[in-house]
Symmetry: C2
DNA sequence: TCACTCATGTAATTGGTTACATGATTAG
DNA sequence: CTAATCATGTAACCAATTACATGAGTGA
């Protein structure tokens, strides 16, 4: 069920862009991040790798190994880089999905500090909006749902607040760093 | 992309079990919770409603309205209740999915306090495990991924800790309530 | 007049999943 | 001798999406 789901295609392209990897490499990497971004099965991983290759966004190098199946290591092409850039530029869909945000975050951190700031700020705005609606429905006078006054909203609020706190402190740190860089550059 | 996705079927059945609702009702309800549980489109909502009906898990009452399309209000059947109960009993899939947990949480809060406690404890164990692996990879000496030492892990850790805190305090409160109830009953 | 809410639905497509197949090597 | 790891892949299936169709009433 693709609910609230996110292009693994682009994320995988991004991972390949960081350094050349095989499908198996990617799987292993994603395993450790599975809670945050999810962990696509081989059944979808390999086909997307094939698709990316066919569309010219990546290239392969087949590396034979003694006594093991040969690895297929994918690298990003110029075209791939262009497509990836485009994807990174467009806004993250609003909604429940931590995933899409985290995907971008993990890639953006390898890009410029400005882009990173932009992503975090975008997220901040979304979470802030989310927090407001939660608060409204908690104190809200449209009192007719059982669900509403339940734990769920409180739970959501706690997570939202924690996220906002982290976003703020991270934004602070980063913009300080940025200012330092600017000063250094201007000398 | 159906990554980490979850049976909306059962959740919808659960919503109908709380009180009879139409497809439109459900949509409106889910809208306010979209951040936490997601908000299925009509294109999937109506068909699942049809399927539930066909399988005898729900029944309909068609309520004609003057000057508006008639509403189809679904109620749960005995069979439906049995199936729902079964679903609630089986463990929540591990993984990234807030969604599946929140779905259950919002339904469980209408059930017994024991069940609620069980759900929260299950979640606690999962999040705790998640937190540990995150901490390991943060201090971890398997230092070769750029991603690893990036913001993502820290972000995940912050969210996990916030969730754990909330889970603990909620578990405390609830088990206190439970003890009080027990005392009352034994008198 | 235009857009939105109410209220239902279908068809085409997408992007995942599970289960399967292959096959050698290593660790308990 | 069994199970796990490395490493690739395909086929059948599933649950969601988007885009479309219909149609009256309300409010700017």
């Amino acid at each position: 069920m693709p609910a609230g789901s996110v292009n693994f295609r682009h994320f995988i392209l991004g991972l390949v862009s960081l350094e050349p990897r095989s499908g198996y490499d990617i799987k292993r990497l994603l395993e450790s991040l599975s809670w945050l971004v999810g962990n696509p099965s081989f059944g979808s991983l390999y086909p997307t790798l094939h698709a990316l290759l066919e569309e010219g966004l990546t290239s392969v190098e087949v590396i034979p190994q003694r006594d093991k199946p040969s690895r297929k290591v994918y690298s990003i092409t110029d075209l791939g880089r262009r497509v990836l850039k485009e994807w990174m530029a467009q806004p993250v869909e609003t909604g429940p999905s931590l995933k899409s945000f985290v995907m971008r975050l993990s890639l953006a951190s390898n890009f410029s500090i400005e882009k990173l700031l932009a992503h975090l700020q975008e997220r901040r705005a979304q979470v802030e909006a989310h927090r407001k609606t939660l608060e409204l429905s908690i104190n809200g006078s449209n009192s007719k749902q059982d669900l509403k006054e339940s734990l769920v909203l409180e739970y959501g609020l706690v997570l939202a607040n924690a996220e906002l706190e982290w976003l703020d402190s991270t934004l602070n740190q980063l913009s300080q760093q940025q200012q330092i860089l600017e000063v250094v550059e201007s000398n």
